[in-house]
Symmetry: C2
Subunit: 261 residues, 2 copies
């Protein structure tokens, strides 16, 4: 439109265009259009012949679909392209049971750990009351770290070579949060059970579990990204379950140490 009437198309066209290939992943095409604020990008085949274009409104749909996939993965659900109400329940169950089974196996490890420490629970049954509180809080701290790290990796705000810096930051955040919550929990545990040794074991364990949870929540997504898996697999459900095992192990051994048993 701004060219002179005498110019030919050949004179005004841009020769060096950014293009994508027919085999390019749709998410990558979306990122290119997003980065350069393009309205469309040409698609070429393996012999560089133009076979079509992808426009910006396709990109919005692609991004929405990819977001759903990411969010489903974060929630431990395998996604399908079909509508919610059209999927039959057997398919729904199949898409969820795989991940639940993986988590269940990790959970059986938690049972085995408690089983092996049963003598101390037998002697001080008051300890049992704080197991869900400790592993639950630890799981939440770990879920926060993994959420931030996974989203950062997915949007390229965090680069893979910044791993150690991120893990150190998250561990420090876990320590601060653990100390804040640890004080509250120690007081609460003492009020509930009236046993100071148990209350101290609970408080100290919470600090240790928080640090460990934020370490796991930030390290595991990086490791998955490094070996080429989707870091979103290391999200809340998995981190929570890993923290269960480690949390119970830390807590019962801490109690054993403090109670001198």
């Amino acid at each position: 439109m701004v060219a002179q009437p005498s110019q030919t198309i050949g004179e005004i066209m841009v020769r060096e265009v950014l293009y994508v290939q027919t085999g390019t992943d749709q998410e990558e095409v979306a990122r290119i259009i997003q980065r350069y604020d393009f309205l469309a990008v040409p698609v070429v085949d393996t012999e560089q012949r133009l076979v079509g274009i992808v426009t910006v409104d396709d990109v919005i749909d692609i991004l929405e679909q990819e977001t759903t996939e990411d969010i489903y993965t974060l929630g431990g659900v395998q996604s399908g392209a079909d509508n919610y109400f059209q999927t039959n329940l057997v398919t729904v169950a199949r898409r969820r049971v795989v991940w639940l089974s993986v988590l269940l196996i990790t959970n059986t490890a938690t049972s085995a750990v408690i089983r092996s420490q049963q003598d101390i629970l037998q002697q001080v049954v008051a300890l049992a009351a704080f197991i869900p509180l400790l592993i639950g809080t630890g799981g939440n701290v770990g879920a926060q770290s993994s959420t931030v790290v996974i989203r950062g990796l997915n949007t390229d705000e965090i680069r893979i070579d910044e791993g150690l810096r991120v893990i150190r930051r998250e561990a420090t955040a876990g320590l601060i949060l653990g100390l804040m919550l640890g004080v509250v929990v120690t007081v609460w545990a003492y009020v509930l059970q009236g046993n100071l040794a148990v209350a101290i074991a609970v408080g100290i364990s919470l600090v240790a579990i928080s640090v460990l949870a934020s370490l796991a929540g930030s390290t595991l997504p990086f490791l998955f990204q490094l070996v080429g898996f989707d870091p979103a697999l290391m999200s809340a459900p998995f981190i929570t379950t890993v923290v269960d095992v480690l949390g119970v192990l830390i807590y019962l051994n801490m109690a054993r140490f403090i109670l001198n048993m």
Copy 2:
């Protein structure tokens, strides 16, 4: 470009355009451009005067930012507009501790429930080994339901008036998953502890907890949407914690019933 040279702009322009107002939420603007595949949409002030446009490439950035907000909320993290490394750790801790404290209060309820049932744990300490497994698995089932429902509500794939249908579907999915996992867990519990009554209590509890978890995971986001809050607040961390309280209550009472105590 396809008009006759003699036509004036006044003759070819479209008079009935879709527009947004200066006060419209950015997410809504994004949804309009996305729905109609527009390249831009005009923005008018309260007196319908054109004050600018929002283009499709702005929309992509808006959607990405909104997605990060959604994902952070799902993970129990309050989001900020700033870069990961530029935020100081005190701010990071402040953004996370509020949600952790809310969850901690719910967790103290779990401790209180176990405390009130301490007599049965004292007599059958073997029961303690399966508490994390049951509430962990229940939490995962609930997290899956809430993930699917929250995402469905956010993308308008699920409408608010379809609530009952969705809740019924999720509860059925929870039942199917509970039955599948319940069988496995009963066998595992028997192998670990060699106590059939305990194993049966664990298996039946898992079925009940799964149904309840999927009910909570699908109902709570709907309730939050109904009263005008962000349904994403009722995501994995909160559902998991609610399931902890209910799960322990179901399990220890089921055990009391089956063990005849």
